[in-house]
Assembly symmetry: C2
Homo-oligomer: 378 residues x 2
């Protein structure tokens, strides 16, 4: 198997190894390691490499029996902080746990990487270490969204890798998002929608109308159904699985939803604890209220997947606790196991070749084939 793609080799013993940046999150390595332990307790086909300060990690690791024998610590002296500029980390970050975490995927020691660290730095180092997939203009970050649909989740991308996206990038997001959703949720033919300010064909910016045409044309190669434009209130809708947008709009939609849910939660708590009677009656209703809270638990939605790289990278929320980290690890495991990267790379290359051919055809229409070069000029 000397020619297997990097990061795609199946490890010995049939286990899939997840490379974990143990130092990245706001909650420190204890939460990260507890998340690994939660995953290990539920999944007997997983193994871990933990990157970080060995002296800090060793005693934490010893606390979890479920991690024994399947976890290896690799010492990294430095840590990327939340304020570090991505360009700085690219230049001076070789000794950080984030860098080592991605290197383990690059050299094939692990099949996926998970970090709770600084998103910008993680994307920059991921691009440096893993490189973009052939034909990808820009990697994208895909997030999960609570949905009324069968799987309970929709995905939206890009949510912040790049603040601009032209029509070809939006097409690539459709292809990558469909491949991701298919493998994460066993959905053979995901439904792709393009985020816009209205569902009518004439609505929105020019590049979005053009992207709609490209995405519709590539549906057969990409093995998805294109449902056309969707609006902000359709993000949890049942009739769509993958929502495509540029990283500026996607980031603002994601944070707007988080902010709205937080405000609603605060107001509900305030009313349910306002008076003694409120507290008593809320106590009696605690069963359904707890189930409601669980159904909306943002920790279940944790995990921004970086798409378009030679390797699987999952960004866990900076403030994730053990449950959140475990959700991100589960996602990384599932994607690594599905080996969808290779098939996605094939589809991207096919569509890119098609677009390139079309551009050549447009530049040299058949009628103009006999023209002498330069003849059109005076």
């Amino acid at each position: 198997m000397a020619d297997a793609p990097q990061g795609m080799t199946t490890p010995q013993g049939g286990r899939i190894t997840v490379s974990v940046d143990a130092m990245g999150g706001d909650e420190g390595p204890a939460a990260v390691i507890a998340g690994c332990a939660l995953s290990a307790a539920r999944n007997d086909r997983i193994a871990f490499i933990l990157h970080g300060d060995e002296a800090a990690l060793t005693p934490l690791l010893a606390e979890f029996a479920s991690l024994r024998g399947i976890t290896r610590i690799v010492h990294s002296p430095d840590v990327v902080s939340m304020d570090d500029k991505p360009a700085n980390v690219m230049r001076h970050g070789r000794a950080t746990s984030m860098w080592a975490c991605l290197s383990a995927v690059q050299d094939g020691a692990a099949q996926a990487a998970v970090s709770c660290g600084n998103t910008g730095a993680l994307m920059a180092v991921s691009m440096l270490r893993l490189r973009k997939l052939r034909g990808v203009h820009r990697p994208a970050i895909a997030c999960l969204w609570p949905s009324r649909g069968r799987s309970g989740f929709n995905t939206m991308l890009d949510v912040g890798a790049d603040v601009r996206a032209d029509e070809e990038s939006l097409l690539q997001y459709a292809l990558m998002g469909a491949a991701y959703y298919r493998n994460a949720f066993d959905a053979p033919r995901p439904r792709v929608g393009l985020l816009n300010v209205g569902t009518e064909e004439h609505k929105g910016r020019a590049e979005i109308k053009e992207a709609a045409r490209l995405i519709a044309d590539a549906a057969a190669i990409g093995r998805y159904d294109f449902v056309g434009f969707v609006e902000g209130n359709d993000l949890p809708a049942e009739h769509v699985d993958v929502i495509v947008t540029d990283g500026f709009t996607g980031n603002i939609a994601l944070k707007t939803a988080e902010g709205t849910a937080k405000l609603i939660g605060e107001r509900m708590r305030a009313e349910l604890t306002a008076t003694l009677w409120s507290r008593l009656s809320a106590g009696l209703a605690s069963g359904p209220l707890r189930r409601f809270k669980r159904s909306m638990d943002p920790r279940r939605m944790n995990g921004g997947v970086f798409l378009g790289l030679n390797g699987t990278v999952v960004k866990s929320h900076g403030s994730a606790d053990a449950t959140g980290v475990s959700a991100a690890i589960k996602l990384a495991f599932r994607l690594a196991e599905s080996r969808f990267q290779e098939r996605m790379a094939d589809r991207l290359a096919k569509v890119a070749d098609g677009l390139h051919q079309q551009t050549l055809d447009e530049a040299n229409p058949p009628d103009a084939a006999d023209d002498e070069p330069g003849e059109a000029k005076a």
Copy 2:
């Protein structure tokens, strides 16, 4: 007062007349007239002109004693439907209730207009009948947002008048939004934030960084404080009152928040009615749950204000009931009463003159003043 600006004359008897498109909403004229009656019962300085089918409106009007003597019906045979294209309404819509509703503001019979109708058509006809304020590139639509702040509301603009906005348009939105917020909520010095994907200065698109500079520079003339970049989760924040963004992003943020709130409401209802015990306990907690629902009631937030026109136009939600229509009417009344349009127009003109002067200075820097025309060229 022959030279008072159109639409700004105070009517006889000290009442402010609101021109209402009675035919626009999904709920039909009964909901609109009931909304007028709610407002009239609480406000003894309001009067109405109702536009629509006289035969349909007359019996509905007779049901409300509070509207007697302060309401006049003006017959319009046609209605703009939700599917009508704006360009079509501009060409063939003269006999519609929407057109007549705006004409009443244009000819000074009313001081503000309210419609539940088709947003695109309402904006198109508003621009045609009322014309843009001097110096305004593009009118904007401002919406209300539930907030943790003192007034309970933030405002965001543009939420869909225009899918693009350059840096000068974003500056105008800041000036118009601050003027609106000041007068709607008695806030002498509103705090303006610019929506972006991060709060750090280096984040975001080029036109947004440039807009931040322009908005900061115009703070003294615009009588606002600029708080810099804000993110999607800051839309309900206490540290900002006016959130500036382009109409594409604003529309998607608004609808994302609506969709999120709706999903949360559905899930809460589902859990609270799942079993007999859930229903019983939810019944006991009905007081706090009802207060919670009221505090998040989207009807209180009803009313998209069109800014940048020679006249006050409030777009009520198409599905608004009487309570929602009454909230939109209250907003229209308050803005008409404050006569803020004139002062806003002055500030816009001052800032536009300043920008124009700056452009001239940059084109002819003092050092180059003695250069012969064309000398710089070969």
